[in-house]
C-alpha cells in the first residue's frame, strides 16, 4: 500500500512537467503580449520594448522555457508580473479559501445527496422517490449563474439572512450561499447515483436472505446495503470534487470569493505566466490528490481490493 502511494506520488512529477510545458506553449501561441499588457493601452512601443528586455521576454523561447523549468524545480514560483509580489505568498492566501469553499460544498452535497438517495431507494416508486428524483433532475438543469443570482436575491436581498457575496474568515455565513450554489447540482447527481447503486444491491440474493432471517429494514440498509453500494458513490464524490474544483472560478467571481479560481482568471487575462502556472499546478496536484484518496478509500471500503 505504502509503495503504491509513493509510486502514485512520483507520477505527479511527469504530470506537472507536462502541464507546465503545455501551459507555456499555450501562452506563447495565444495572442497577447505580457509586456504590452504591463505597459497599458496605447503605450509607446519603446516602453513595451524596454519592459520586454527587463523581463527577459526577448530571449529565445526555449531558453525562457528551460529557465522557467529550472526555477520551478528549485521551488521558486517567481514573482507575479502584475503585483511584483512573490507568487507563493499569494497562493498561501488564496488556495486555502478555495479548499474551504470546495469542502463546504462537497460535504453539504454528499450528506444531503446520499441521504436523499437512501430515502428514494428505500421507498422506490413511492411519492418520496418521485419527488426526490424530480428535484434531482431540476437541480441538474439549473444554470449555475442563475441559481447563484436567485439565492442572492432570496436570502440576501429579500430575507436579509445572509451576505450576498464576499468573504469572512472561517466557516462563517459568507460560505453558505456559494457552497449551496456549488452543492445543489451535485446533490441531485449524488442522489441519483446513490439510489441506483442501492437498488442494485437491494436486488441481490444476500439482501433477500437478510430480510428472510427477519432483520429490521434500517439495519439491513446500514449494515448490508450501504457498504456494498459505496464504491460508485465514493467514485462519484471524487469525480464531483474534481468537477467542483474546476467549476469554482465562476462561482468565485459571482460571489467575490477571494480564492485561487479568481486569482488564476486574473492571471490569465493579464498573461501573468508565473501566477497562472503556479495556480494551475496547485489545482492539478489537488485533483491528483483527490483521485489518490479515492483509490485508497476503495481499499478500505472493499477489502478485496489490494494495491501492490
Amino acid at each position: 500500500m505504502l509503495r503504491y502511494i509513493i509510486r502514485r506520488l512520483l507520477l505527479f512529477i511527469p504530470i506537472l512537467i507536462g502541464l507546465v510545458t503545455m501551459l507555456f506553449v499555450l501562452l506563447h501561441i495565444l495572442p497577447g503580449d505580457p509586456a504590452r499588457l504591463m505597459a497599458g493601452p496605447f503605450a509607446n512601443p519603446d516602453v513595451v520594448e524596454t519592459i520586454r528586455q527587463e523581463m527577459g521576454f526577448d530571449r529565445p523561447i526555449w531558453i525562457q522555457y528551460l529557465d522557467n523549468l529550472r526555477r520551478l524545480a528549485l521551488g521558486d514560483f517567481g514573482r507575479s508580473y502584475q503585483s511584483r509580489r512573490p507568487i507563493l505568498a499569494d497562493l498561501i492566501e488564496v488556495f486555502p479559501k478555495t479548499v474551504q469553499l470546495a469542502l463546504a460544498a462537497e460535504v453539504t452535497s454528499s450528506l444531503i445527496g446520499i441521504w436523499l438517495g437512501v430515502i428514494a431507494a428505500a421507498r422506490r416508486n413511492g411519492w418520496a422517490d418521485r419527488l426526490i428524483m424530480t428535484i434531482a433532475a431540476l437541480n441538474l438543469s439549473f444554470p449555475l449563474f442563475w441559481l447563484a443570482l436567485m439565492l442572492q436575491i432570496v436570502f440576501a436581498v429579500s430575507l436579509r439572512l445572509l451576505p450576498p457575496s464576499g468573504y469572512g474568515a472561517g466557516f462563517d455565513r459568507f460560505v453558505i450561499l456559494p457552497a449551496i450554489t456549488l452543492a445543489l447540482p451535485s446533490l441531485g447527481l449524488l442522489a441519483r447515483i446513490t439510489r441506483a447503486a442501492l437498488i442494485e444491491v437491494i436486488n441481490e440474493d444476500y439482501i433477500r436472505t437478510a430480510r428472510a432471517k427477519g432483520l429490521q429494514g434500517t439495519l439491513i440498509m446500514r449494515r448490508h446495503i450501504l457498504p456494498n453500494a459505496l464504491i460508485p458513490i465514493v467514485t462519484t464524490i471524487g469525480a464531483d470534487f474534481v468537477r467542483l474544483l474546476g467549476g469554482i472560478p465562476m462561482i468565485e467571481i459571482i460571489f467575490a470569493w477571494p480564492g485561487i479560481g479568481k486569482y488564476a482568471y486574473d492571471a490569465l487575462v493579464f498573461r501573468d505566466l508565473p501566477a497562472l502556472q503556479a495556480s494551475v499546478m496547485i489545482l492539478a496536484v489537488a485533483v491528483s490528490a483527490v483521485n489518490l484518496v479515492v483509490d485508497i478509500l476503495y481499499a478500505f471500503i472493499n477489502p478485496r481490493i489490494r494495491y501492490v
Binding site: L30, P31, G32, D33, R36, M38, A39, G40, P41, F42, A43, N44, P45, D46, V47, T50, I51, E54, M55, S80, Q82, S83, R84, R85, D90, E93, V94, I112, L116, I119, A128, L131, I132, I135, L138, L147, L149, M150, L151, Q152, I153, V154, A156, V157, S158, R160, P163, P164, S165, G166, Y167, T218, I253, I254, F255, A256, P258, K262, Y263, D266
Partner: protein, 554 residues
C-alpha cells in the same frame, strides 16, 4: 427517524419553492427597498442643510479586480486608476469632477517666457503619510525613479522631454540635469522644448511623489505598501477581497470627511447590484439590464452619477489603402450613412455623438465650431456618386475590432447602415495583441477603435492620433500627414496660453472634418448609482472615484 426525514424533505421542497418564487418576488422586494430608501433620504434632506458635511463613516465602493499594486511608477490598469488618486498625489491633482487641474503639493508655479523652465514652489508643511515633510528632493527622487529603466515604469515617457532624461536613462549620467532643487521647497524643471500639456502630465498619478526611505525599505513590495501624499493612506488590504484607505489626518487640504473608504473587488456586475440592494455596497456601476429600474426609481434616479468620459470611439481608416484611404468623399459618405442615434439608443442613451476626436470637456472643444455630420442617407449617396461609386463600392471590407461582446452588436448596426449606401463590411473580432499589431503595422484597412488619454489635455488626443511624428506605432494609426495640422498641433503643444491653444485645435478640427482620417462615432458616458446616504460623490471623466470631499448622511 421518520419524522426527521419528513422535516428535511419539507425543507428541500421549501428551498426549491423559494427558488421558484424568487422571480415573482423580485418586484415586491424592490418596492420594499425603495420604501426603506425613501425614508432614509427624507431624513437626510431634512438634516443635511442644517448640519452640512458630517464627519466620519466608511463608504464602500467597488472595482472589478484586485489592483495588486499602487506603486505610481507601475500603474497602468483601470482598477488601479480608479482608486489611486485617493492615495497618490504630486505637484498637481485633478478636481473631483476631473475637469480642472488644481495645485496640489505645488502651491504655485511659474513658467519662463520661452516655456521651458518650470519653477514650482512647494507647500510648507505638506506631509507624506509617514509624517515626514515633503521637500523638493523628494520630487527629484520620485521623477528620476520613474525615468530609471530598472523601475520598468510604463509612464517614463511623460518625463522624456526633461533636459538630461535621455542621458540618465542610457546610464551616461547619474542624475537628470534638468531637475534641480533650488532650495528645500523650490523645484525647477527644464524642458528640452516648451510643452503646454506638461502641467496635466504632472497631475497624473504616475508622477506622484514617494518617499525614498519607504521605497528602499519595501523594495519590490512597495506597490503593496505605498506611502505617498494623497488624502487617504493605504490601510488593510485583503488579496482579491478588498482594500481600505484610511483618512490622512495631515493632508494639506484638510482631512477627508470620511474615516475611510473601502473598495471591494467584485467582478460580477449583477453581484454588485445585489450587494447594493443588500446595503453592503454604496456605489455600483449600472449594468444595461438594470438601467430601467434605476432610472425609473424615484430615489435612485436622483442618485445616478453621470460622467461624460474623455473617451472617443471611431473608425480608423488606413489612408494608405484603397479605396477608403484615397477618397475623403467616401469617408464622409460613410459618416453620413451611420445612424449614430440608433447606436446611442441601443446604449440606453449612455453615449453622445462624436463630431471629432476630442471629447467634450477638454480645452479646445467647441461644438459650435465643429463641422457636423448629421445622419443623412441622401447626402451620403450624393457623396458616393461624387467619389465615383454611385453604385456602391465593389467587394467587402474587414473592420477589425477587439473581441468585446457588446461591440459586435454596435458594429452590426453600422454594417446595416453602410449596406444601404452600397458598402459591405465584415466584422472581424481580433484578439487585443494582434489587433494592436495590425493597427501599428498598417496591416488593416478599417478598424473600430477607441482612444482615452493618460492626462487631461487635448494633446492626449490630437498629438498621437494626427501628428505625422506618430505615424504607425506612435498612435497615428490612420497614417495621416498634413503639414498644416502638424504645425498647428506642434504650436499648440508649445503654447501655454489656453485661448490661443484652443484656437489652434479648432483649426485642426476644421481640417479634420474635411479629411476625416478617423470617422468619429461616439463618446462614452459612465453611469453609476449610489445609495442615498452618500453625499457629494461624482464619478469623473478620467475613470477615477475621488472621496476626499464625500460624506455620509446617516
Amino acid at each position: 427517524m421518520k419524522s426527521m426525514q419528513h422535516v428535511l424533505l419539507t425543507l428541500c421542497v421549501a428551498l426549491l419553492a423559494s427558488l421558484m418564487v424568487a422571480c415573482a418576488a423580485l418586484p415586491i422586494s424592490s418596492t420594499d427597498s425603495t420604501g426603506a430608501a425613501q425614508s432614509d433620504d427624507s431624513q437626510a434632506s431634512e438634516s443635511a442643510p442644517s448640519e452640512g458635511p458630517r464627519m466620519g463613516g466608511v463608504v464602500i465602493g467597488f472595482v472589478s479586480s484586485d489592483p495588486k499594486n499602487f506603486d505610481p511608477a507601475a500603474i497602468a490598469g483601470w482598477d488601479q486608476g480608479v482608486i489611486a488618486p485617493n492615495l497618490l498625489e504630486g505637484l498637481f491633482r485633478l478636481s473631483p469632477d476631473g475637469r480642472e487641474i488644481e495645485p496640489a503639493i505645488a502651491e504655485s508655479f511659474a513658467v519662463s517666457d520661452d516655456g521651458t523652465i518650470w519653477t514650482f514652489h512647494l507647500r510648507q508643511g505638506a506631509k507624506f503619510h509617514n509624517g515626514r515633510e515633503i521637500t523638493a528632493d523628494d520630487f527629484k527622487y520620485s521623477f528620476e525613479r520613474v525615468l530609471n529603466p530598472a523601475t520598468r515604469s510604463p509612464k517614463a515617457w511623460m518625463l522624456s522631454i526633461v533636459v538630461g532624461a535621455q542621458a540618465f536613462q542610457e546610464g551616461a549620467a547619474d542624475e537628470v540635469s534638468g531637475i534641480r532643487t533650488l532650495d528645500s521647497h523650490t523645484l525647477e524643471i527644464t524642458l528640452a522644448e516648451p510643452l503646454a500639456p506638461f502641467k496635466s502630465m504632472l497631475a497624473s498619478i504616475n508622477l506622484a511623489v514617494v518617499p525614498r526611505e519607504e521605497v528602499e525599505k519595501w523594495g519590490e513590495d512597495f506597490g503593496q505598501n505605498v506611502v505617498s501624499a494623497g488624502p487617504f493612506s493605504l490601510g488593510d488590504w485583503n488579496l482579491n477581497q478588498d482594500v481600505t484607505l484610511n483618512a490622512f489626518d495631515d493632508y494639506w487640504n484638510g482631512r477627508p470627511y470620511l474615516d475611510a473608504v473601502q473598495f471591494r473587488f467584485i467582478q460580477d456586475e449583477n453581484t454588485r447590484i445585489v450587494e447594493l440592494d443588500a446595503e453592503r455596497l454604496d456605489i455600483a456601476w449600472v449594468p444595461p439590464a438594470h438601467w430601467q429600474r434605476f432610472s425609473a426609481d424615484p430615489v435612485f434616479k436622483e442618485k445616478l452619477g453621470w460622467a461624460e468620459t474623455f473617451h472617443t470611439d471611431f473608425l480608423a481608416v488606413n489612408l494608405d489603402k484603397e479605396p477608403f484611404g484615397a477618397n475623403p468623399k467616401l469617408r464622409q459618405a460613410v459618416r453620413y450613412a451611420l445612424d449614430l442615434d440608433a447606436v446611442i439608443a441601443s446604449l440606453q442613451g449612455r453615449a453622445t455623438v462624436a463630431q471629432g476626436v476630442l471629447p467634450p470637456g477638454l480645452l479646445g472643444f467647441d461644438e459650435g465650431a465643429m463641422l457636423h455630420y448629421p445622419t443623412n442617407l441622401e447626402t451620403a449617396k450624393a457623396l458616393m456618386a461624387e467619389a465615383g461609386f454611385a453604385d456602391g463600392v465593389p467587394g467587402s471590407f474587414e473592420v477589425i475590432l477587439p473581441p468585446w461582446g457588446n461591440l459586435i452588436k454596435l458594429l452590426e448596426i453600422y454594417q446595416a447602415n453602410l449596406k444601404e449606401i452600397g458598402i459591405a463590411i465584415e466584422i472581424r473580432p481580433t484578439e487585443f495583441g494582434p489587433y494592436m499589431e495590425a493597427l501599428e503595422s498598417g496591416n488593416y484597412s478599417l478598424a473600430w477603435m477607441y482612444r482615452v488619454t493618460d492626462y487631461a489635455d487635448p494633446d492626449g488626443f490630437y498629438y498621437p492620433l494626427m501628428h505625422s511624428d506618430n505615424l504607425g506605432s506612435g498612435g497615428n494609426y490612420a497614417r495621416y500627414a498634413n503639414a498644416n495640422v502638424d504645425a498647428n498641433i506642434a504650436t499648440a503643444r508649445a503654447t501655454v496660453d489656453d485661448a490661443e491653444r484652443a484656437k489652434l485645435y479648432q483649426a485642426v478640427d476644421a481640417q479634420f472634418a474635411e479629411d476625416l482620417p478617423y470617422i468619429p462615432l461616439t463618446h462614452n458616458i459612465y453611469v453609476d448609482v449610489s445609495r442615498p446616504r452618500v453625499q457629494n460623490y461624482v464619478p469623473s471623466p478620467m475613470d477615477t472615484h475621488m472621496f476626499h470631499r464625500v460624506w455620509l448622511a446617516e
